[in-house]
Amino acid sequence: MRQLSQAAAIREGIVQEMRQDPSVILLGEDVGKFGGAFHITHDMLDEFGAERVWDTPISEAGFTGLGIGAALTGLRPIVEYQYLDFIFCAMDQVVNQAAKIRLMSGGRAKAPLVLRGPQGATGRGAQHSQSVEAWFMHTPGMKVVLPSTPYDAKGLIISAIRDDNPVLFVEHKLLYGAASPGGGKALSDTAIQAIGTDVPEESYAIPLGTADIKRQGSDVTIIATLLMLHRALSVAEELAAEGISAEVIDPRSLAPLDVATIAASIAKTNHVVVVSEDVSRAGVSAELVATINDHCFYDLEAPVQRVAAANTPIPFAPASERHVIPQVDDIRAAVRRVLSI
């Protein structure tokens, strides 16, 4: 089958939706004539014109609000943040407005909105490196989607666009692939697996809230998203050589979360490691541990191990960044801890 990079897969999903649904529009900085800082919206201005591809000023709070207003009145806007760190400039519009409007209106209003952009630590210092998903996982009314492969990215962006709620669509810079700036670096990360690169040309939707078992196993369950999913898979591969069988689950969406798939896996393996690139304190890993305790406590033979970023802003120096962000070694050590080996 045809191979696509993740950047190209996201792009194709957006283009196909825009072709079949004239209510889908784009808003964001440099998304038009420049084609997006990470080239996701490449050529879209040419194909769809300036009434559907809006090159915004640097006004995140403003254009997020415009997206909400357009969503309330019949459009399906996709709002791009050049780096997801900048969505914090629009926090009121996202958290107080988009996420709450459904409830506040007693179910009368809906805001079908995709908020998307890249995140992840790539040597750019504290304001261009954060993982933001926990902030929005914490915000009722929002959905939070995170693709780790090109195949998933296309199917999930299509579902996110069709969804009638505000969806945060989290992309990882190091997973975009070679066609995108930053992608060259990704290729040098040996942990990034060439999985899910076969992408059908026709449109397809992956339902939000369905996890995917990326690798079957029986001894331990590793739950991870985005770049961490790839690191988890490479650990699983190594451990297989020692006769340890790890199951690797990609939740693909944190809100809603596919608890059933996770619980079924834990019922089989009785050991769990959760991995996330965001900080551990009140982070994704904390919520996953709490959920596992709620649903799977009596299946656990050892305390859940979590691997997450250190509780610090991301330092610039590469040696420190590496120390802060979970590495393959950290995941391997956590698996050994949970299995007491």
Partner: protein
């Protein structure tokens, strides 16, 4: 005023200015230029971490503004901040060590190119969230008032930043309370790919100040003395309790937006035309025209600036690499 201001190439008019000040400006602009030129090669040839944004062609703004301030006045900067730091006397060695992620760096290797900071020099920080330094400088101005320090606070930011709501919030408060603040729009005519006309309904950015009753003006940002004069007036007003000023300095970003960004969205004739309006060359021509310095003396200063950067690189390379756990010392302050 339209944004296509005539590109001026005439020598800077140095009449009536102190010779030492003029030569110091020349030296500072050269240092800022050379710092970034060498960074470009370092990024190409060595494993220099991270990214950078060059202000090549914009040096007269940083140097013109800071040369009109007192050493204890404060500034905030942006993602494109090297020249501001050079102008504010942040030691070149500390800056270069930061670029190399060394423990001796101005931010101990924790900040990097986009977050250079030096409190000893009144450099409160470089803020890489567009617009975010504007209220912070305004707060420093408020603090100067409360403390009765007589300091002025200056915020440097780009033409793109004026479209963040925070620009308006900050300017309103500064004007409302007559704070000793100076706002410098470093209008290099692009915010990444977007021209001013493509992102601002009124491309005359200085005029935004009138909504707050704040004096404002546009100056030729490639004329270091024009920038200096405007800032000196603004600082005088600020110190006299007469409130803030907005200065729009029109200049041009000669290089791409960041490290190797090709800037293919700009007509090459435009870039070439602005290259001929180089602020350093215009000052050199002005110095020669008035006989303030001869070609030999200017060449000697050029050589000194180059040597200073070379020293900084050599020093930085001899510094100690940040160790993995260093960051643990810097997350929160200990009382």
């Amino acid at each position: 005023m339209s944004n296509t201001m005539e590109i001026r190439r005439d020598p800077v008019d140095c009449a009536g200015h102190d010779r030492a000040l003029l030569l110091r400006m020349f030296r500072k602009m050269l240092e800022a230029r050379e710092f970034e030129e060498q960074l470009y090669y370092l990024f190409l040839t060595t494993a220099m971490p991270g990214t950078m944004h060059q202000a090549v062609g914009q040096e007269a703004v940083a140097v013109g503004v800071v040369s009109a301030l007192n050493p204890d006045d404060t500034i905030t900067s942006t993602h494109r901040g090297h020249a501001h730091c050079v102008a504010k006397d942040v030691p070149l060695k500390d800056m270069m060590a930061e670029m190399f992620a060394k423990q001796e760096g101005s931010c101990r290797g924790m900040g990097g190119s986009m977050h250079l900071t030096d409190f000893n020099k009144g450099m409160l920080g470089a803020f890489a969230i567009v617009g975010s330094g504007i209220p912070i400088a305004t707060g420093a101005a408020l603090s100067a008032r409360v403390r009765g320090s007589g300091q002025v606070a200056v915020s440097f930011f780009g033409d793109g930043a004026v479209n963040e709501g925070i620009f308006h919030e900050a300017l309103n408060m500064a004007a409302l309370w007559n704070l000793p603040a100076i706002y410098i729009i470093e209008n290099n005519q692009y915010a990444l790919s977007m021209t001013v006309a493509e992102s601002s309904a009124v491309p005359d950015l200085a005029s935004r100040a009138c909504a707050y009753g704040m004096p404002s003006l546009r100056v030729d940002g490639n004329d270091v003395l024009a920038v200096h004069e405007a800032t000196r007036e603004a600082a005088k007003r600020a110190r006299a309790g007469e409130g803030p000023t907005l200065i729009e300095a029109l200049t041009y970003r000669i290089r791409g937006h960041a490290r190797f960004e090709a800037a293919g969205y700009r007509p090459s004739e435009e870039v070439e035309a602005w290259k001929k309006a180089d602020p350093i060359e215009r000052l050199a021509a002005g110095l020669l025209a008035r006989g303030i310095a001869g070609e030999d003396e200017l060449n000697a200063i050029r050589a000194e600036a180059e040597a200073a950067i070379e020293d900084a690189i050599e020093y930085a390379q001899s510094c100690t690499d940040v160790q993995a756990e260093d960051y643990l010392s810097y997350i929160t302050a200990e009382n």
